[in-house]
Every structure is written in C-alpha cells, then in structure tokens.
Symmetry: C2
Subunit: 561 residues, 2 copies
C-alpha cells in the first residue's frame, strides 16, 4: 500500500508515524510545502519572545529522523499542486529545484491546515509587515526584530496567536497595540469574561484598539501605518497580521471534494472525504461540535493530532472514529490563564438554547495555604435537563485543571447537578475540600431545587423604587465602590435589620463574589422576601465596568482629514 500525505505538521505527521507502526510494509510519502516537518507550531510565538531559546527546540523532528526511525519519505519544500482523483495521482512541485512530477497513491491524506487570514491588499513590498504560520515566518519576524530593533508593533487580530504574540513582544520591551474590528479579545470567551483579559493586557501596557477594520496598510517613514475603514489610523515600527485562520483547501476545492463551512473539507467520522481513498484531517476539515451537534471549524492541535491517528487506523482497517470536538482550549497571558470548553453564552443564544448559568470566584487552593489566587468560573447548562453546555475560566494556577475536569464531565454528557458528587483529589496546596468544580455543582443544585434565584449584571433592574437593591458587603467594601442605587446592609447585620426592608418589594442582593449575598438571600426568602442573588457579584461587575470605561477612552487614532 502506498500512502501519500499532503502536509507534514500535526495531523499529517501523526498519521505518518501511526501508519508505520501499524503497517511496516506500507510506502509512506509526505509532501510538506514549508522547510520543516512536524514542527512545534504552537510554540512559534514563544520563540519570537525568547521564552523558547533554541530554534532546534521547535524543529526537533527532521525528515532524516522520520526516515531513520519510521522509514517514511518526508519531502519538505514540496508543494502538491493538484490531485487527479480518478488516476489516483498528485502533481508535486519541488520548490527548491522547480521540478514538477506526478506521484501515485493508493490512499491520500490531506493535512493542509489553515492559513492566516490576510486582508486583500498587496503587502509584498512591505518588509515590516508579517504573518505567522510557519517556522520560516517565525524566523523572519525574529530576524527582523533582531536587526531593526522595532520599538512598536501593531498586531491585527486578538485570537490565540495575537494574544500570545502580544505577551511575547511586550516581554521584549516593545510597545504593543492589538487592533481588530471585534470588541473583545478571544472569541471563545463571553465579553464579561474577556474583560479580565483586557485588564491584564492593559496592566502590562498593551493597548487595545477595538472596533477598527483595517482597510489599508502602507509604509510610512521608518514604519508602517494601518488605515482603518472608520478613517482613523495607527502607526508602528512593524505589524503582524494574526486576524484568524481560513482552511487551506484550494487543492481540495480544485479536486472537486465536497466542501463545508468556510470551504473546509467535509469528512465522515472516519476522516473520509467525498472521494474514495482520499482522507483529510486537521484544521482544514469540518467537524461535528460534540455539544451542539452542529458543523464547526475548530482549529486546534488536539483534534488534529487525534484525527491523524484515527485516519491511520482507518486506512489500516481498525474501527477508529472521530467523535467530534468540544473546543477545549487554554491560553496563557502573562501570569494569567484562561480556558474554555463547550459553547459560550453568545453561541447558546445564537442557537436559541434554553440555558442558565452560574458564576463563581473560588480560590485555586485552600485559602490558608500560601500562594492562592482567585479564579472566575462561568458554567453554562441547559435550563431544563441541566446538561452541561460549556465553561469558561479566567484566573491563575489551577484554571487548566478545572477546565479539563469540566471538559471530561461534558464529554461524558454529565449534568451540572452531578458536578457536586465528583470525588476530586484535595490537599491544601492543590485545591479545597470542596473543589471549585464541586462548588459550581452545589450552586446549580441550589438553582435546580429552588433554594436560590439569581439576577444578572445585564438585567435592567428598575430604578423607580419598585424593588429593593441591597449590597451585603461590609461598610468599608461598600465605601470603596458599589453599584449605583444599592443600599448597604452587611450580611452580619441583616437579621436585626430585616424589619427595615419592605416585604412587598423584590430584593436584588449583591456582595463581592456571590457567597454572602447567597446567605442573605436565604435569610430573606425564609423571612418571606422575594430575594435574588447577583451572579458573579460586585467583583465581576467592577471588572466589566472598568473595561467598558477603558474601552470608551478611545485609543488616539489619527483621523485622516
């Protein structure tokens, strides 16, 4: 059997190695357009920032290694130009020599990945404008910085690569501005959760210029200017485009394979394309979102690697299936970590789901053990079945752990009510006796059995005196900042002050994180009040309000006259 693999990173490389382990006799040929194979694409921003010091660390695998260990022929600098699906051949160009030749296959695996979205502009003359996909791109940026010592950079795009680059370039001492049309960083997060990232970015001096769509990029004296559709512009010494990724599927399209959303390749759960003996894996394929059941594009390394293994299994006759992605992801941002799994509230709304949500602010480990930090967790669940729909966490240590626990729970179709029963490992340096994930379960159980009713920051509470607005924090906390219109009765003074509150009016209660206001709500409800607990507390409110204010104080963009 002769297997040709187009693309030697992530899915392609995994498929090649697994194929060999399953079939010692197969002929396995990999064509990779770039000069590197199976490189650490998720590490590229960290090489630019100097966190990863050696180029070799990114490119540990070489064509020679693949040949020696796996007897696989890896051809770098080889671009596959066309698929002849009836003849079962591909036309290949050796980019080093210009030679063009045909290669036959019994099975063809496409692992072309996704390419950075680049504005429809001619940027070839602009030496100070880069995009970031390959090792070569990385080395170009690295060399440019070494040689030209740029002091400022414009980053177009605030997704994974944009955010990771922002941190790395900031750590190099550069003046970093992220510019994009979207009003927030990291689309997998809901806006109130992204506000925590924005605060951290701003605290590190990174400027955020949201709401600007780039219409032109041009060289200016010693640098580059991005001109926006809204007429403004920003200048910097260099610019990196990291706006998003698009499936790199021209080859598949030209070959007439069935394409799906955003021209991704449609595949079965066995990674089969629409044409026999052609398979596809990785960022270029359309997957089933395992939470929504909808078709989705999920450009992440985990799914790509899993699919690479599965396609090799399938080709070798094993019954392996890809069961879909739930989009679990994690991101480091300076000392902060953000992580998500499943869908966010924006998606739940767009799908018209009947959902509910909780926010909590637990510590990553026992409060009395040094080094603890607070994380903010949002859990989304079906309001009828309580099935888990998604989770988002921003914080510091221990965020990645809780998202993986939640991802595992969701993978098994767990309901939010079952989270409270999870027997998780506890010792003071690692967790609390009630782990944050258990806590989320307790809170959702309280909602399910009617113990608690919630209100949300985005609810427009009447300010006409028809409801009571109550802040149950201490007088000091209240004096330090509170939501307009809320009166202060600390929770510990509430029992003796119940008579001062009107029973006929609903009471909306807030505290710092939601715990004291929950205790207050229980006290109130059992005394005949219709009380509602604010999800997320003043802590969430303050971060969102601060972010809204900072976003309003628009970054000075030179308006064209």
């Amino acid at each position: 059997m002769k297997v040709v693999i187009v693309g030697g990173v992530a899915g392609g490389a995994t498929a090649a190695a697994r194929l060999r382990r399953l079939d010692e006799q197969a002929q396995i040929i990999v064509f990779e357009k770039s000069g590197f194979v199976s490189y650490a694409n998720c590490g590229l921003p960290y090489f630019i920032g100097g966190v990863i010091e050696n180029e070799e660390a990114l490119t540990l695998q070489t064509p020679e290694n693949f040949k020696i260990r796996f007897n696989i022929d890896v051809n770098v600098h080889h671009e596959v130009l066309a698929i002849h699906k009836e003849a079962q051949t591909v036309t290949v160009k050796n980019l080093a020599t210009g030679e063009i030749f045909d290669e036959s296959y019994d099975r063809l695996i496409l692992s072309p990945g996704a390419k950075p979205t680049v504005p429809n502009l001619d940027l070839t003359a602009l030496k100070q404008v880069f995009s970031l996909r390959t090792v070569e791109d990385t080395l170009n940026i690295h060399r440019y910085i070494q040689a030209n010592k740029p002091k400022s950079v414009l980053l177009a795009g605030g997704g994974f690569i944009g955010v990771e680059l922002a941190e790395n370039l900031c750590d190099l001492g550069m003046d970093v501005t992220i510019v994009q049309s979207q009003p927030q960083l990291m689309a997998p997060l809901d806006s109130e959760m992204a506000a925590f990232l924005h605060s951290t970015m701003r605290a590190h001096g990174v400027k955020l210029a949201f709401g600007h769509r780039v219409s032109n990029i041009r060289a200016v004296d010693g640098g580059v200017e991005a001109v926006f559709k809204d007429g403004g512009s920003l200048q910097a010494d260099m610019m990196v485009l990291a706006i998003g990724v698009t499936p790199d599927t021209k080859l598949a399209k030209d070959a007439g394979l069935t394409l799906g959303i955003r021209e991704s390749i449609v595949v079965t759960d066995k990674m089969e394309t629409s044409h026999k003996n052609i398979y596809a894996v990785g960022d270029a394929v359309q997957v089933k979102h395992s939470i929504t059941g909808e078709n989705a594009l999920i450009s992440l390394a985990g799914p790509a690697n899993k699919q690479g293994r599965i396609v090799a299994d399938v080709i070798c006759g094993l019954d392996s299936r890809y069961h879909g992605s739930q989009g679990s992801s994690v991101l480091k941002l300076f000392d902060m970590t953000m992580a998500t799994t499943g869908i966010n509230e924006r998606t739940a709304k767009a799908l018209g789901l009947h959902y509910d949500k909780v926010y909590l602010s637990p510590a990553n480990h026992a409060g009395y053990y040094p080094g603890g930090n607070i994380m903010t967790m949002k859990v989304l669940f079906d309001a009828t079945t309580y099935k888990l729909l998604g989770a988002q966490i921003v914080g510091y240590d221990g965020v990645d752990k809780r998202i993986d626990v939640l991802a595992t729970a969701m993978h098994m179709g767990m309901t939010a009510l079952q989270l409270k029963d999870l027997d998780l490992a506890y010792a003071p340096p690692y967790s609390s006796a009630k782990d944050p994930v258990n806590m989320a379960g307790f809170m959702i159980e309280n909602i399910a059995n009617g113990t608690v009713k919630q209100w949300f920051m985005e609810d427009a509470l009447p300010r006409d005196g028809s409801v009571t607005l109550l802040d149950t924090r201490t007088a000091e906390e209240y004096a330090g900042g509170h939501i307009n219109g809320f009166q202060n009765i600390p929770v510990d003074d509430l029992r003796e002050n119940l008579h001062t509150l009107e029973k006929t009016k609903p009471i909306y209660v807030v505290c710092q994180s939601g715990l004291r206001s929950y205790i207050a709500c229980r006290m109130l409800r059992q005394n005949g009040f219709d009380a509602y607990n604010m999800a997320g507390g003043y802590r969430l409110y303050a971060v969102v309000a601060e972010n809204a204010q900072a976003s309003k104080e628009a970054l000075p963009c030179g308006k064209e006259s």
Copy 2:
C-alpha cells in the same frame, strides 16, 4: 427543629452552616471537644513547618463568627459524654468548668472524626512525644520546637500526616527519620510507585526505617528512644506519632449504634445511622467504595465536607444522597506531587479482579516549552470490560490535574478506551496536543486491539536463552545502566538488524520509557516475531531497583544486647 451536632470540624461545621441556610428557624447547637471550630486540619503540618505563618490562618472561623453570621451556638471545650437515644438527649461536659448537663435534640449529627492511632503505651510522662490531630496538638509541637530546638525527630507512620510532617520538619533543618512496620510510604500507592517518593525523601536527607514495629517508647538522656519489636531501637530529640487514624466512635458504640469496619458508624446513603433521628458524617462513618462496591473507611476532607452538606439537606427534606467515595487524594512532597484515585493493584489483587495496567512517563507540557517535567502514571483497568479501576501518578506540575481528570472519568464509569477521545485543553505551557490522559487511552487501545503485548518488571523472564532480551535505547543509554542479560540494538538500527534475531524465540523489549520499545515491538511483530513491550521501561526499573538497594542498606538501629 433543634439540631445538635457533635464535632465542629469539616463535616460538622459544613452541616451546621448548610442547615442554617436551609432553615432560618432551626435551633442549631454544636459541641466541639477541642478549643477550635472549623479549623484547617489539613493545614496543621504546614503551620509546624512555618509555611503557614499565622495561627489565625488555621482558625479563621470562630464561635463568634458562627453566631453572628449563622445564628449557630458553637460550644468549644464541650465534650459529649453520652447519647440517650430514646430520650433524644445528650449528656455534655463543659471541659472548662467541669459542669455536666443534658441537651435535648430533634436531630443529632455525629461528626466525631478519627483519632491518631496511638500505641498501647503510657506516654503521659514523655513531654517530647506528640501526636497530631487538633490545633492544640499543633501548637504544642510548634512551641516545643521553638523552645527546645530539637535537632532530630522520629516520625512513626508514613501516611499523609507523616509524610507532610517529614517535609515540614526537614525544611526546619531537622534530622528526620520515618519509622514504620510497612515496607513503603503512602499505602494508596503500589510499591513501585512509592519508590519514587522514597527516592525524593532520601534525596532530601529523610531517613526511612521500614519494617520496624514500635514496642516501647522511653525517655533517654535529653530525648526519646523508640524500641522495636525486632530488638532494634532509634533515638531522637523528639517523636511524633502519626501511625494512622481510627474512627472516634466510643460515643456511638456506647449508644448502641450499628458499627462497621474498624468500629466505624454504619450509615445509609442519606447519612442515617441505625437509630432514628441520629445521623453521622465524616471520618467516623463507613462508606461504600464507588469502584469496588465494598465497605470502606476513607478519612479524607472532601467526602466529609460533602457528607456534611448532604446530612443538612436530608434533615431539611431535600433528596440528597452520598454516592460513595473513590478515594481520590493528592500529596505534596517537597517539589514532588503524588496523587491517586480508585483502587491500586494491591487491592485489585486482593479482590481477585481480572485487571490489566499500563505505565507511562509523559511530560506535563510540551517538551519545547521551558519548565517541563516527567510524571509517571499508572492506570489500572478491568481486563475484560476495560472499565477504569484506578490511577496513580507521581511527578511534579500537572499531576493533580491528570488525577482529577481520571477521577472524573472514573466517576462516570468511563472505560479506559474512552480516555483517548477526551477533548482536553492544550497550549504549550499546560499540556501536549496528546495529553497524558489521552496517551494512556491510546496505549490501552493498543492492548485491546492486539497491537501491543506487554511484559512487566515483576515477570520472571527466563534467563536460559529460550527468549531474546532486547534493549532498544542508544548505546550511551545502555552503557549508563541496563537490565542484566539484555542485549542492545537501538531502535533506529533495528530494521537492518532484524536478521540477527531468532524468530522462534519470544522477544522481550525495553527502552527508557516504553515508547521506543513499542515502536520496536511493532516492527518485530510485523516481521513475524512474538514481541513484548516492557511497561514503564528502564526508567521505572531503575527507580525500583535503586529503592530496593537503599532499603537493603538498613538504617543502623542500635540492637539491644
């Protein structure tokens, strides 16, 4: 409703607070024998070591707090002497005044905890011998160390408390010796996994004196001598007894409640004891092990806190159930972390289960990102159904995360084969595109579909030439140490050397961690060899061999003449 709670730590304190949140009108009275309520019992060793600096951090909750916030009467220094279950009263002694009185109840919750196992010796005169259970014990040890500056300490017992104390006293500069009859630390670990802990202990200068049962403890000039049943003895400036814990159930026994294993209190899944209106929670109760279905004693804070909440729910008419424990636990030991969930191999054997196992040595995060470390993971599963039975991990960062993911998978009854499909969050600082938990799944799938056959360190391989013993590491690695009798052919040289191996003999293959030997086994099997891959690799073998050697070099114990 009047609820009396015996014991104000963990389960008792949780029950009290939850009761108030559910029932504003109930009368809630807590009796706690010690001087402190809801204290941080898992933090006590860290106060002794100075990691937790302030006593207040351990005792954040006070009777006054409970009164103000929850309107709960917490009586410290009050010992409940007797339960009169027909009269529904308890007899209480105020330990401060000596006063004895009766208190009636509608519902009684027993949360007496477990007490350190103390040898049947009169130790009252020995001021330099301590046990560790309460805040008072902690302060006693702390004060003794401050005042007497002991240079050496004997710790009897190598469980959680013993190991945590060893680290903390070692960090104070003390010469620490752990003495016990068991041949390993941390019984939840299998012996080969405990070997990693032993190495770490020894590397930090902690001495391990296993196989000695203490028969007497006596004062010697300026210190203490522990005399062993085997005739040896050890001396030190002080001694702490941390041999294990026993359910503190005299009260329940005297009251005629049904007791279970080791005199623990038998309860239903609603935490009901054998007598109406009496409930029990925490370390004193017998639970169902959720993996084996057997009765078990699991003295951990997580279950105790969950049970405290459940008993309050039940008393207030909610349908809450305790679904059993799977014994998830985690321990810090210097920079090392060890964690377990489910059952270990010793237990699986004792139960006669038909199990199988894998070992793997994955990195906690992408190898090219700085700061990575190797962990050793052991996963146990049913050899027929592939249901997960247990996992043990020793390593550094990221161990607690993987055990919680595995604990969640096990809680949902996941099979080991499903681990490969988990969609876990990946970025280079946190994981690899194939997370260690996915990797365990891949390995077990390979066993399930016959792709790999394993051999184990404990297998007695014939050394009579009837089998081939093959080490596939590099020549340098092989020269640095190898298993006796194994010949060396590096994996990358194997294809061209296949003809040197005899096809009629089974081949037992080893490499450092099991990956290269797996590749070699695939190559061999497809070339007609009957090849077996060593689980855990030379890495595991070397640690176990080193530990066996160190244990043999017996600690000098002065033999009595």
